[in-house]
C-alpha cells in the first residue's frame, strides 16, 4: 500500500533534511503494511517474491509467534535496491514512523555510497523474482520434493563462498602465459650491491638446488586440481560436480543470493551505526516537535539497549561514529596526540579542527566492519563503553566475563567479524587419493568446527560430489580428517 498523504508529507520533509545533511541515496519508496504482511516480507528477507522453500515458512512461524507473544516487533525493513524499498508498519505511532524514515535514509545512503556494496546487483528485487520463477519451473518439471531437497543441500553449502572475490578486479587472466611460469622457475635473488659479492651471496650449488625445488614444485602443482586451494567451494562444485543442468542452476541461484547478502553481513555494525547516527541527528535537530521528544528518547533507548553477553551493532556502531566525529572535531588523532604523555592535557585536547562530519562521511565510504574496528576502536572507547570479553567456563557451565583488556577485546571482535564469523573452508584436492574424491580443508585458527553440524554438512557435500568427500580440520589442536562416503561418517587422525 502506498503511503497516506500525511506520511507522504513527512517523508518529503525528512528526505529534504537528509539531502541537506549531504546524504546521497537512490529514490526511496515506502510501503505501509500490516504486521502480517510485514512478517511475510521479513521472512523472505525483505523481498516480495522468493523461490519456494520451507525455511521461509519456518521464519514466518517464528516471527508470527514472537510477535503475538509481544516479544519483538519489526519496525522497519529496507532493501538494498534501486529504487530502495522500505516498509513501514501500520499502526506504529507517528514518532516511530518518523524515526524509521530517518533511519531508512541512513541505510539508503550507506547502500549507495559504501564501496563494499558497489558490486551488488541494484535490481535485486527483479533478480530474486527471476530466480523464483526459474525454481518454480524446475518444480513443475521435477517435482517439489526433489527440488526442495536439492535446495536444502545448496543452502547448507551457501556459506562456502569467497566473500572477497567480488572485489578483486583482474587485469589479465592468471596462469595463462607460459612466460609467467618460466619466470616463476627462476629463484629469487637477494640484493647484492657489490658485483663481486654475488657469487658468495648466491652460490651456484644453492641456486641449482633452488631451481630443482621450484621445478618439482611447479610440476606437482600443475598435476594438482585445483592448482591453488579454492575458497569458493560452491563455484567449484557447480563447475566440476556431476550434477544435472537444473541443479547447477539452482546452486547458482543460491550462490548469487548469498553473494548479494555478503556486504550486509560485512558492514552490519557500520550500517546500523550509520543509520542510527542519522536518525538520532535528524530527529533531535530537525524533525521532532516538543511533545514527541520523550517518546523518541524511549524508543531510541530501546533500540540501543545492550543485552548482557550480546553486542548490539546499533549501539556499537553509533557510538563509534560519534567517537570518530568527536575525535576529528577536536583533533584527537595523529602522532602528536598519540605521543602526548600528559593525561590532563590529553583530556582537554581540542584543536578545533571541526573535521568530524567530513571524516565520518569518508569512513562510511571506504570501510567495512573489520577495517572500521581495526582502525577506530581505541582503548579509551572500550573503557568508556565498558566493553569486555567473555568465555565459556566448563566448570560453571556458563559464560563469564573474561577480561577488559583492550587488545583482547579488539582481537575477539575482529576474530568474530573476519569472514563474517564463518570458518575458512577451501577445496584442496578434487582428485584426492587419485580416486576422484573431494578433499576440503578447514583453515584452522583456534576454534573447532561444530562436529554435529559438520557431519550433516559433509553428507550434503557428498550428495553433490557423488564420490566420498573429506574435510581436513583440527580438533583440540590435533589434525583430523572427517570423511563421508554417502553411507557413513568417519573421523580419523590426519597424518
Amino acid at each position: 500500500m502506498t503511503l497516506p498523504t500525511y506520511l507522504q508529507d513527512i517523508q518529503r520533509e525528512i528526505q529534504g533534511y537528509a539531502l541537506e545533511y549531504g546524504l546521497d541515496f537512490y529514490d526511496t519508496i515506502f510501503e505501509l503494511v500490516d504486521y502480517q504482511k510485514m512478517n511475510e516480507v521479513a521472512s523472505y528477507g525483505g523481498f516480495p517474491v522468493r523461490y519456494p522453500h520451507w525455511r521461509f515458512g519456518m521464519e514466518y512461524e517464528r516471527m508470527t509467534k514472537s510477535y503475538s507473544y509481544g516479544l519483538h516487533k519489526i519496525y522497519e525493513l529496507v532493501i538494498n535496491n534501486d529504487p530502495c524499498y522500505a516498509y513501514l508498519l501500520e499502526g506504529n505511532s507517528l514518532v516511530d514512523q518518523k524515526m524509521v524514515m530517518a533511519h531508512v535514509y541512513g541505510h539508503c545512503d550507506f547502500f549507495k555510497m559504501n564501496q563494499w556494496f558497489s558490486p551488488t546487483n541494484r535490481k535485486m528485487i527483479d533478480q530474486m523474482a527471476n530466480h523464483a520463477s526459474r525454481v518454480r519451473r524446475y518444480v513443475d518439471r521435477h517435482g517439489m520434493t526433489q527440488v526442495e531437497e536439492f535446495l536444502d543441500i545448496c543452502l547448507s553449502l551457501e556459506n562456502l563462498i569467497d566473500r572477497h572475490s567480488p572485489y578483486i578486479r583482474r587485469t589479465e587472466k592468471r596462469d595463462s602465459q607460459e612466460g609467467d611460469n618460466a619466470s616463476a622457475l627462476e629463484p629469487l635473488r637477494l640484493k647484492a650491491n657489490k658485483q663481486y659479492l654475488d657469487r658468495y651471496v648466491h652460490p651456484e650449488e644453492a641456486l641449482a638446488e633452488e631451481r630443482e625445488r621450484l621445478k618439482t614444485e611447479a610440476a606437482d602443482k600443475s598435476k594438482r586440481f585445483p592448482v591453488e586451494p579454492v575458497q569458493d567451494v560452491v563455484l567449484f562444485l557447480m563447475e566440476h560436480a556431476p550434477i544435472e543442468k537444473w541443479q547447477q542452476d539452482v546452486l547458482n541461484i543460491v550462490r548469487e543470493e548469498a553473494y548479494y547478502f555478503v556486504p550486509q553481513g560485512m558492514t552490519k555494525i557500520m550500517n546500523e551505526g550509520w543509520a542510527s547516527y542519522w536518525h538520532s541527528t535528524m530527529m533531535t535537530q530537525r524533525v521532532l516537535n516538543d511533545s514527541e521528544i520523550v517518546d523518541f528518547a524511549d524508543h531510541h533507548a530501546a533500540t540501543m539497549a545492550m543485552q548482557p553477553g550480546g553486542l548490539n551493532p546499533y549501539k556499537l556502531g553509533l557510538e563509534l561514529f560519534r567517537d570518530i566525529e568527536d575525535r576529528w572535531n577536536r583533533g584527537r588523532f595523529g602522532k602528536e596526540y598519540d605521543e602526548c604523555q600528559d593525561l590532563e592535557e590529553k583530556l582537554h585536547w581540542d584543536r578545533r579542527l571541526g573535521q568530524g562530519r567530513e571524516r565520518i562521511f569518508q569512513v562510511r565510504r571506504i570501510h567495512n566492519d573489520v577495517t572500521f574496528l581495526d582502525e577506530f576502536l581505541t582503548p579509551e572507547f572500550c573503557w568508556r563503553q565498558k566493553l569486555f570479553t567473555y568465555e565459556y567456563n566448563r566448570k560453571r557451565a556458563g559464560f563469564e566475563i573474561f577480561s577488559r583488556d583492550f587488545s583482547s577485546i579488539k582481537q575477539k571482535l575482529l576474530g568474530q567479524l573476519t569472514n563474517m564469523g564463518q570458518p575458512f573452508i577451501f577445496v584442496e584436492d578434487g582428485n584426492y587419493g587419485n580416486r576422484g574424491e573431494l578433499l576440503l580443508w578447514h583453515r584452522y585458527d583456534g576454534v573447532d568446527l561444530d562436529p554435529a553440524y559438520g557431519r550433516d554438512t559433509l553428507k550434503n557435500v557428498q550428495s553433490v560430489w557423488n564420490r566420498p568427500v573429506h574435510v581436513r580440520t583440527e580438533i583440540d589442536g590435533k589434525p583430523r580428517l572427517w570423511s563421508h562416503d554417502g553411507e557413513q561418517f568417519k573421523e580419523q587422525p590426519f597424518e
Partner: protein, 369 residues
C-alpha cells in the same frame, strides 16, 4: 489467492510433523510435552530443524559484551539478537523452535506412528443430539425472523406486476402477504460420548516415578480418546485401602501410604458408572494403574468378581496397567491373566519403565475398542 508464504509455511508444518513423528517415542517416554499443554494445542520443542552448515562450535567461542562487572562474573546469555528484521537473512538464530501443534493433530500423529485403529463407538445410534439449522423461507413466522430482503423483493415484484411501482418515486411498501420469514430444520446427529475413569493405586509402594509413568500414559490416552469422541469426560479415583474420587490435580500429586485394596476402587468406579453414565449412552473406559501388590487373595477374588459382573459388561474395554515399583512387580496382573485369559474386554499391560509406555499405549488402544 494463497500467498506464497502460506505454501512455504504449510510445507514447513509438514516437515515439523514428520520430525515429531520421528521423535514421538522419545517425546512420550520423556513426558516433556505435558507441561506444554495449552487449551487445544501443545507446544513442542523441535530440535535442529536448522539447515546444517560448517560453523564453529558454539561454546568454544565466547564473545564481546558491554556492561558492568569484573572478570569472572557470570553473564546471562541473552539471545544473540538474531535477524530483528533489519537485514534479515544474513544471520540465523540458534533457537530451539517451539511449534504449536493442535491436540487433534498430535493424536493423529500418535495414531499413525503406533498404528492405532480408529475406535468404533458403541451404541452410537442410540444417542441423538438435536441441531437446528436455518435453511429455508416460509410465508409465516415470528417477526424476529423476518427476512428483510426477501420481503421487499416480494413487494417490488407485486408492485411491478400490478403496475403500482413508479421508478420516479421508488417507494416499496410490503403488505402482510409479502412478508417472508426464515425457517429452520431440526437435524438429529448421532453423537458418541465417552467417559474415562482413571484409577490409581497410591499406596506406599507407588513412588514418584511410578506416578510420573501413570501421568504420561494417561496424557496420551486422553489425547487419543479425545480425538475419537466429541464429548469426553474424565474422572479420577485414587485408592489405597479405601477409594475416593478426586480432581485431576490431586490424582497426580497425592502421596498416601498404607495398604492396597483394589476392590475398593472397582466398587467406587462401578458406582459412579451406575449413577451417572448409563451404558447405552456412554462409551466407558476404566483405566486402572497399580503396582499390583494387592492386600489379600480374597480381595483379588473380589476384584475378579467385580470386573466380571459389573465393570466389564458396562465398559467398552477395561484396562489394567501394572507399573513396576522398587519393590518389584506384584501378583495382581498374573491373577487377572489367570482368570480372564485372552478376554477381549480386559487388557492388561506391564509397564516396566518409561520406555515401555509406548508399547503399553499400543496394548491399550491397539484393539480399536
Amino acid at each position: 489467492m494463497i500467498l506464497n508464504i502460506q505454501k512455504d509455511h504449510t510445507r514447513f508444518r509438514k516437515i515439523v510433523r514428520g520430525r515429531i513423528r520421528d521423535n514421538l517415542r522419545r517425546y512420550i517416554s520423556q513426558g516433556e510435552l505435558m507441561g506444554r499443554k495449552g487449551k487445544d494445542v501443545v507446544s513442542i520443542p523441535v530440535p535442529q530443524i536448522n539447515i546444517p552448515k560448517f560453523r564453529f562450535g558454539n561454546q568454544e567461542q565466547g564473545g564481546v559484551g558491554q556492561g558492568d562487572g569484573d572478570a569472572g562474573d557470570p553473564i546471562g546469555q541473552g539471545d544473540p539478537q538474531a535477524g530483528d528484521g533489519h537485514e534479515a537473512g544474513n544471520t540465523a538464530g540458534e533457537h530451539m523452535l517451539e511449534v504449536d501443534v493442535p491436540l487433534d493433530e498430535l493424536a493423529e500423529i500418535l495414531g499413525e506412528e503406533l498404528e492405532l485403529p480408529k475406535i468404533e463407538p458403541r451404541g452410537a445410534q442410540h444417542i441423538q443430539s438435536q441441531k437446528t439449522k436455518y435453511s429455508g423461507i416460509r410465508p409465516v413466522g415470528p417477526e424476529s425472523l423476518r427476512h428483510f430482503r426477501r420481503t421487499y423483493r416480494r413487494a417490488l415484484l407485486r408492485q411491478i406486476a400490478s403496475g403500482t411501482y413508479n421508478p420516479e418515486l421508488p417507494l416499496v411498501v410490503p403488505t402482510r402477504e409479502d412478508r417472508r420469514y426464515r425457517s429452520w430444520k431440526t437435524e438429529s446427529k448421532p453423537q458418541a460420548n465417552a467417559v474415562i475413569l482413571y484409577m490409581m493405586d497410591v499406596s506406599g509402594s507407588m513412588g514418584d516415578e511410578q506416578k510420573e509413568i501413570v501421568r504420561i500414559e494417561s496424557f496420551w490416552i486422553d489425547t487419543w480418546l479425545r480425538s475419537q469422541y466429541k464429548g469426553i469426560e474424565s474422572r479420577y479415583i485414587i485408592h489405597d485401602a479405601v477409594a475416593r474420587e478426586v480432581d485431576r490435580e490431586t490424582f497426580f500429586h497425592t502421596r498416601e501410604s498404607g495398604g492396597t485394596m483394589i476392590s475398593s476402587a472397582y466398587k467406587l468406579c462401578s458406582e459412579i458408572i451406575d449413577r451417572e453414565y448409563p451404558m447405552d449412552e456412554w462409551n466407558i473406559y476404566p483405566f486402572h494403574f497399580s503396582d499390583g501388590d494387592n492386600w489379600s487373595v480374597d480381595d483379588t477374588l473380589l476384584c475378579v468378581e467385580l470386573l466380571k459382573e459389573r465393570l466389564i459388561p458396562k465398559s467398552n474395554v477395561v484396562c489394567y496397567g501394572q507399573v513396576e515399583s522398587p519393590y518389584g512387580s506384584g501378583q495382581f496382573i498374573k491373577d487377572l491373566r489367570e482368570h480372564f485369559g485372552d478376554a477381549e474386554e480386559l487388557i492388561v499391560s506391564e509397564i516396566k519403565n518409561k520406555d515401555a509406555i509406548v508399547e503399553s499405549i499400543k496394548d491399550f488402544l491397539g484393539k480399536g475398542k
